[in-house]
């Protein structure tokens, strides 16, 4: 026995986000509701020599005074800044002014940490221009840097753990945070993920020919691949009783997490969807919830032909005949793929949809407007779908290397 022998109910008490739709939850929810994609030409780096030229870039925005802090520019990479902003917003929403005297921990996912800045260093260093290569560009290069930056910024002295399991990193970090709050290891978990656009992943996925030249079209006929995004999302997790005791209202209850591996191929999903289904089933088992209570799914939905097909197979395994009826959205159609942060921003989108009792749509696009007849999901198009009384939702993350994760949230009602 390692920690207190308890299993506490866990509430989401605050959320924060940076995405291609803007800095903050306000612009995120407004854009999601409108089904407005942030995938467009971008300027984060010169992409003229790359095969594709679109991404959901988080433009400079209002950073609520954080930018005036001298640490902001000097010590933090872009991914760190996204993370610190999202954490600050989430903590403010939760009504937690300080974490210095709390039993708090940080659980983060990231795929490349400060690689965007590191590329400046390596661009000089690898050409032998030693003097032009600034070590400070590497200072926040580590994958653990965004999570560490959040812990440092808010004075966290409890556990800090970064998971880097490609596109399921953020969801796995949320699962680890759920365990830590349930077990009593921490009383507050700052959980999420952060990644910025960088050439390494942009060129890498293009090398695999898994990037659509237009905005991605998850589950649509003729889809050709993913689109990139960047940003961060943070959820504040606390014991439900603790949130209620201070008179705050939970945004949702985080009831289950599960993961499983395809053990099949480094980049291709297992076509039967068995691994993804095992993750969803584990999450529902953890939640003690039958699949029939799930009101909608926020799918991993990258828009690659193989991923979406495998995910459809997985949905059929879990939901049976309901697979084609259960309302489904794919946040990546609006925000692009945030890689190590995708699981966390899609978790935030799921929580917001539960709270507002409506499911955000994806845009109809001129190409591939129809759902792929081979994958007849109930994709919500163009307008939000009202879901009054919706009980719960599943968010999935299916990563490189077959690492699958699923999260289950339920709508908070005081009854």
């Amino acid at each position: 026995m390692n920690h207190k022998a308890v299993s506490r109910r866990v509430a989401v008490s605050g959320v924060g986000a940076v995405s291609g739709l803007g800095w903050g939850i306000g612009p995120l929810w407004e854009g999601l509701r409108a089904g407005r994609t942030a995938i467009r030409p971008f300027e984060r780096f010169d992409n003229t020599a790359h095969r594709t030229h679109l991404a959901a870039e988080a433009a400079d925005g209002d950073v609520n005074g954080l930018a005036n802090d001298p640490r902001w520019q000097r010590l933090l990479s872009l991914a760190d800044r996204f993370a610190v902003f999202a954490a600050a917003e989430a903590l403010a929403m939760a009504g937690l002014a300080s974490l210095e005297d709390s039993e708090a921990g940080v659980f983060f996912g990231s795929s490349t940490g400060g690689m965007f800045e590191s590329e400046r260093f390596f661009n000089e260093f690898l050409r032998g221009r030693w003097r032009s290569a600034k070590l400070r560009d590497l200072a926040s290069q580590q994958v653990n840097a965004p999570g560490d930056a959040v812990a440092r910024w808010f004075g966290v002295s409890g556990p800090v753990r970064t998971i880097s399991s490609a596109c399921s990193s953020g969801a796995l970090a949320l699962g680890a945070a759920l365990d830590a709050v349930r077990s009593g290891e921490v009383d507050v978990a700052v959980a999420g993920g952060s990644d910025s656009l960088c050439q390494l992943t942009y060129a890498g996925f293009n090398a695999l020919r898994s990037v659509d030249e237009g905005p991605c079209r998850p589950f649509r006929a003729g889809r050709e691949g993913m689109s990139f995004g960047e940003g961060s999302a943070v959820l504040i997790l606390e014991p439900l009783e603790q949130v209620l005791a201070r008179g705050a209202e939970p945004l949702a209850e985080f009831v289950g997490a599960g993961s499983a591996c395809d053990a099949h191929h480094m980049t291709a999903p297992e076509p039967s969807g068995a691994g993804a289904a095992a993750a969803m089933e584990a999450a529902l088992r953890d939640a003690g919830m039958p699949a029939g209570e799930v009101g909608f799914v926020n799918a991993h939905g990258t828009g690659t032909p193989l991923n979406d097909a495998a995910e459809w197979q997985a949905l059929q395994r879990v939901f049976g005949e309901r697979a084609g009826e259960i309302p489904l959205t794919a946040t990546k159609a609006l925000l692009g793929h945030l890689l190590g942060s995708s699981g966390s921003i899609e978790a935030v989108a799921t929580v917001l949809c539960l709270r507002h009792e409506e499911l955000h749509p994806v845009p109809t696009c001129s190409e591939g407007a129809t759902v792929d007849p081979e994958l007849p999901v109930s994709l919500v198009l163009d307008r939000p779908l009202p879901l009054p009384g919706v009980k719960a939702a599943v968010s999935t993350s299916l990563a490189f290397g077959g690492s699958n994760a699923a999260l289950v949230f339920s709508r908070w009602t005081d009854s």
Binding site: M1, N2, H3, A49, H50, R51, L75, V106, S111, E119, F122, F125, L126, G128, L135, L138, A139, Q142, V143, N144, A145, D148, A151, R152, F154, G155, S157, G158, P159, V160, R161, T162, I163, S164, S165, A166, L172, A176, S183, Q199, L200, A203, G204, F205, A207, L208, S259, A260, C261, A263, H264, H265, M266, T267, G275, A278, F400, G401, G402, S403
Partner: protein, 408 residues
Amino acid sequence: MSASIVVTGLGTVGAYGSGAESLRKALASSELPVLSEIDRSAGYHLSQAPRKAFLVDPALLREWVPAGEARRMSPPSRFAVATARMALRCAGWSAGLPDELTGVVISTAFGPASYSEGLLKQILLEGPESASPMLFMESVANAPAAQIAIACRARGPSVTICQREAGALLAVGQAAADVAAGRVPRALAGGLDEMTPLLHSLLDRFGALARNSGPDGAEISRPLDRRRAGCLASEGATLLLLESDGSAIERGASPLARVAAWGSAFDPTAPAVGWGTGHAGLARSLRRSLERAGIPLERIDRIVTGASGSRSGDRVEALLLKEAWGEKPLPPVLAPKSVIGEYGGGFLGAAVLAAGGAPFGPTFGFEELDPELGIVPHDGSPLAPPSTVLVTSVAAGGAVSWLVLEAP
């Protein structure tokens, strides 16, 4: 959490060789450790930079990862698959696992560094369309975990933790929690890293490595010593097979150690690439964690520290231990990184062997007490086998992790 967790398999590869026996011999020895010349031909190194590191002889892996399989893997993936197979053999599963439910939780500080470097060269120097799909798919941090899953048919959770030097103990803790909670019947857990010339040169530029600090300019690290000036970099992997006590008993497996507790904390005073001054807070967290696990300090009769010879890192680690114990004397302290190096998981293997009562030689490189730290590590004299071993690891950037292992 309910089940008691035991280690029934240990796979390890490093400059010391492959397998637990090679590591055991290196730890017992009082000889100068075997170091290899690092390739400086790329010109990355400063003229006064160290020239050596603990490197893996690739021939050691061939028995475990055939060439046809290895060609699709980065060096860390080869280390991972080789040590996973060693751990399974050690645990009595040479013929394969009885089901596909095994979890994999591993840590890496730097990921597949050589493949990332190769990919960056292609993208930045030759243009993005030169990027190789093979280099990309093996450059992601979780590629070694995925390769283990594929090689061993392990379809439980697959998790890669990146938390610098604290990662390996965190991975074992997370895997132990998964097994204890009944989410998986068993898990492979541990740490790995490769040491490339580029990475070695960058660690030196950040001041992390020992430079000519021994007699006649020899490169040695001096854990906890007053004149310590950096660590020796290493590569390799160590993976453990964890399962419940009940499972081990049922199939007649012999535990190497018992995982009694795990925990972690963070020092928010630490800068992103160094260590801070928050040892008192870390000590409070350690004590609280042990109290929660029902382990009084008095029961701990051996400490395996991650002290590597780092000027600031060893200071934090020593002061947090001194603070945690207060007026009470510390039990014998082992500091094995001067013979196995920093990074690559050898430290985790050393901790498991320590819990099993393996003899350790005198702490190589330690000669002079640092009065501020006040710790004299093990001098090589015979020690009674321990019952409860505290293993600590302090990472650059602020993370700290610990494990409590008990004798089997």
